[in-house]
């Protein structure tokens, strides 16, 4: 079994274990461990993890805090436990995913691996095109676009994306056919 697949399985087991922990200090320990092991990248990873969960966790926490205030009970035990758990799980995911090659970890199934490669390749194309479009738009317009202009922009982006990504994905499919992907069962 490859190192990447072992790491992914270890990560999944740890996630399962962490969702059975209800003591905040255990999650605080995972957060501290991730930050220590990440070294110089720790703060950047923590910021990224915070950004990823702040909308959902913040919304739920605010709703629960208001509910507790209205009902007259203390929400802090729940809020501490929930937010530490959510943050520790997300930070762990970000930290470990920097060390795992997801394509290698999931190559036990050619079908899954194929979809992952295609999807990630097209996402890169899409994000690059989107960035180019946005920069091109900004370079030509001083005022923010209207809704109608934004819709036109998305339509034009979609058309451009289709043309660009077709060439790339066709290359991938032909390469896979030449290696016998479509010839036999998984």
């Amino acid at each position: 079994m490859s190192r990447d697949r072992l790491l992914l399985m270890g990560y999944l087991l740890l996630v399962l274990l962490m969702t059975t922990w209800h003591q905040p200090w255990l999650h605080a320990g995972v957060i501290g461990g991730c930050l220590l092991l990440a070294g110089d990248r720790g703060l950047r990873l923590a910021g990224k993890a915070l950004l990823a969960v702040v909308l959902f966790s913040g919304g739920v926490s605010l709703g629960y805090w208001l509910f507790a205030w209205w009902q007259g009970f203390s929400p802090w035990e729940y809020l501490l436990r929930l937010n530490l758990r959510v943050f520790s799980l997300t930070l762990l995911t970000f930290w470990l995913m920097q060390r795992i090659n997801l394509f290698r970890a999931l190559d036990f199934s050619p079908g899954l691996s194929y979809l992952l490669i295609i999807a990630s390749g097209q996402v890169q194309t899409l994000r690059g095109l989107y960035r180019d479009f946005r920069l091109a738009w900004r370079s030509r317009e001083l005022n923010p676009p209207t809704l109608a202009q934004q819709q036109q922009q998305v339509g034009a982006l979609g058309l451009c994306l289709l043309d660009k990504s077709l060439a790339r994905s066709r290359e991938i499919s032909l390469a896979m056919r030449s290696r016998g992907f479509f010839d036999g069962p998984d």
Binding site: V15, L16, L55, G59, Y78, M97, G111, L115, A119, G121
Partner: protein
Amino acid sequence: MHIPDGFIAPQVYLPLYAVAGGCWAYALRRVRRVLDEDTIPLLALLTAFTFVLGMVALPLPGGTTAHATGVALLALLFGVWTAFLAFSVVLLMQALLFGDGGITSLPLNALAMGLAGGAAAVAGFRLLKNLREKLALFLAGWLAINVAALLMALALGLQPHVARDADGVPLFFPFGWQITLPAVMLPHLLVGLAEGALTLSLYRFAQGYLSREP
């Protein structure tokens, strides 16, 4: 609408993984019958498109978020199982690479949005396509969003019933169905309109591409 890690109890996500695992295995076997050199480019494009749509999360009252999914379009063009598999890959990438959604909420997100949403879209389209195709396409997108939202709301509202500590304090998502159903469903009645419009406008364009000679 993606739920991060830490909100779904193991009593819920482990059985859901068992169900989703069976569905993924079945979908993997089927997908190779559908994919060929002609359909691959469009599937790849729509998968990437779905990925980007899924990354843009709008906060909703009650703490959840809303997304256009594009899953109705995938299901109508490639079938429910292919859409489910492609959408699951998108969710996996979002959870592991971008922290949008989570690995413990993956089976719920995949089954609700990818499978149930896709199946609802196809069922709605087949039901109405002979009456009026434009309406059927629009309804397919609207149904995909709202069936998924309903299942999400039910699953979230289940959490305080299955996981509480000795004092009765919830261990995971704290609100019951009386809050999750209106908080999730009401905004998605509107979000579904955008998904319906998206499905309507892109389906014909995609069909045109599929029928084009290479």
